[in-house]
Amino acid sequence: MQLKGAEILLRCLQEEGVDTVFGYPGGAVLPIYDALYDSSIRHILARHEQGVAHAADGYARATGKVGVCIATSGPGATNLVTGIATAYMDSIPMVCFTGQVGTSLIGRDAFQEADITGITLPITKHNYVVERTEDVARVVKEAFYIARTNRPGPVVVDLPKDVMEKSIEFSEGAEVNLRGYRVMKGCNLGQVIAAVELIKKAERPVIYAGGGVISSDAATELRELAEKRKIPVTTTLMGLGAFPGNNYLSLGMLGMHGTRYANYAIGEADLLIAVGVRFDDRVTGNVNTFAPHAKVIHIDIDAAEIGKNVNTHIPIVGQAKEVLQAINERLEPVAEYGEWHRTLDRWKQEFPLRYGSSRDGRLMPQHVIEKIYDLTKGEAIITTEVGQNQMWTAQYYKFKHPRSFLTSGGLGTMGFGFPAAIGAKIGCPDRLVIDIAGDGSILMNIQELATAVQYRLPIVICILNNQYLGMVRQWQSLFYGGRYSNTDMSAQPDFVKLAEAFGAIGIRVNKEEELDDALNRALQATDRPVVLDILIEREADVYPMVPPGGSLSNMLGGDDI
């Protein structure tokens, strides 16, 4: 059968189980868009390629499937870059198809030419330039295989226009041919047994769980381990939802803006079971004083993460799910740990997350998050932007399920949350999807309101509006003598009118009494997005806090409000 490169591409996508792609057309991808015209694949048209990438990323995070992007050559491709880097840092499976100028023009600085494989080299798991139509099927197969196996990540496939236009005799059955890439199966049983022995002997164990638990679909196994052995669990930002936040063994998040009791537990633990984590600086603070009394069991699919930042006593390379299963099989249930649990309970009572009352009569952001938690019963998919809005959400929304908290953890990309919410809602239309935003972040991808309106997506955007770039202002206040250099954002649009201009619903919340009603109205929307412009205390801070490079045992704030 004679097929064009673009038709082969779409056929291969369907073979990979893709029914939805996110994209933005342009000159170099005209052949692909022409083929899409007759295809059953659903194409979601964003309004900026950064929105395309974050939406595909949010879709992948919420569903566990591979997110797929299409963008044109040159600026289309470079606009994807932040989204690709975001996915790379958080190990999200994505395949991005970029248009490229015709093969005869490559390297001649042609119109809308950019070396996207060169540009994305350090932020992709792998990337390809497809030079022959004959290679399209194999490359697509390999790209998906690489993106979703082992430690997931984004793959870029650059498609010159003539490669997409050319017709060839197409035969099915392309195979992956990667001798330098093996999918990790199983794990070292000797190491598992050694880990089990350590767990049996531990008196003050703590589980430190991260995004790897979610991508490995290991939340059930993690919970089994924790409940069987009564081991308290703290999660990273990326790990929120990997263990129910309302479980009695949950210590919440650890690290820079973690709970005091989680950080103190790390300081006192004699055994740290680290699962699907990478000992990021925002978690460890000063690595020399991190978990000083603990032996470390580190479970990760990526061998390069083991021993990268801290020394490990028992490294186990493998899928978190398989490794935890192997460990659980070898452990008997125990009763409470007694002394250790009493200590943790005391810390929980003495140092809970808390916040004071408003100093300027506006709403307290923490209260807003608690309210959203109550109204959604912890069952919504929550996305965030980056900064204070992200940290307050991480602290005060008790995530119960994996894949319900979508946030840019590694790269810290402002403007991520809203397009990610679009992707999540497309992937999970029956779930409630809420983007918790700041007034700075939301403006970075506000154009996507047009997308959400076009597809009639009832997403709720809660802008925690303090008219500041709040987290930067907080650091300026703490570490730069209160010199608020360029963080005052009070020159801002009327978000209610802005929402209405896009065809969305806009509601302003000036005071606490209005919050319930506004949230209820927003949650009842069925056919369009709702923007809630919630005026919060201008100088509310995120506490407690470990100053950068400090020790977890030495937290600022949150104890004396």
Binding site: L178, R179, A304, G307
Partner: protein, 161 residues
């Protein structure tokens, strides 16, 4: 810090060398010497990399390299019995008064003169680093005009275990 010789077997495809070298730069490791070429199998290239670092750095380098899809195999042959060779071309000032002295040095090092100019000679020498360094030092007093080295290539002795 100890010097390590890594032989890295990779796919013989465009862009693979860039992937390897940018990884070193990105992770902050310095390449001291690098040589690359096709092997007995034309679909495979071999890169010989000399890198300095303690065990921890070497472990990270190796693990990060393995994550590159185009990298097939990495062997640290530092502790192996191996042959290491580098080829160097040296253009040295040589008028009639000193030519005989230079020829003598060339003989001692079993090097070769590959070009004779009016006032210069090009010498080709092959060997391990210590031999080449000694040769360069011996020629320095005559005046080295230009020098180019290929980078070290290496191979483990005997049969593969």
């Amino acid at each position: 810090m100890k010097k390590h010789t890594l032989t890295v077997t990779v796919e013989n495809k465009p862009g693979v060398l860039t992937r390897v070298t940018t990884l070193f730069r990105r992770r902050g490791y310095n390449i001291e010497s690098l040589a690359v070429g096709e092997t007995e199998n034309p679909t495979i290239s071999r890169i010989t990399i000399i890198v300095r670092g303690d065990d921890r750095i070497l472990e990270q380098v190796t693990k990060q390299l393995y994550k590159l899809v185009d990298v097939i195999k990495i062997v640290d042959i530092t502790e192996e019995r191996s042959v290491e060779r580098e080829l160097v071309l040296i253009k040295v000032k040589a008028d009639n008064n000193v030519r005989a002295d230079i020829v003598q040095i060339v003989d001692i090092f079993r090097a070769r003169i590959v070009d004779i100019g009016k006032n210069s000679l090009i010498i080709e020498v092959t060997g391990d680093s210590s031999k080449i360094d000694a040769m360069v030092e011996s020629l320095r007093p005559f005046g080295i005009i230009e020098l180019v080295r290929t980078g070290i290539v290496a191979m483990v002795r005997g049969e593969i275990k």
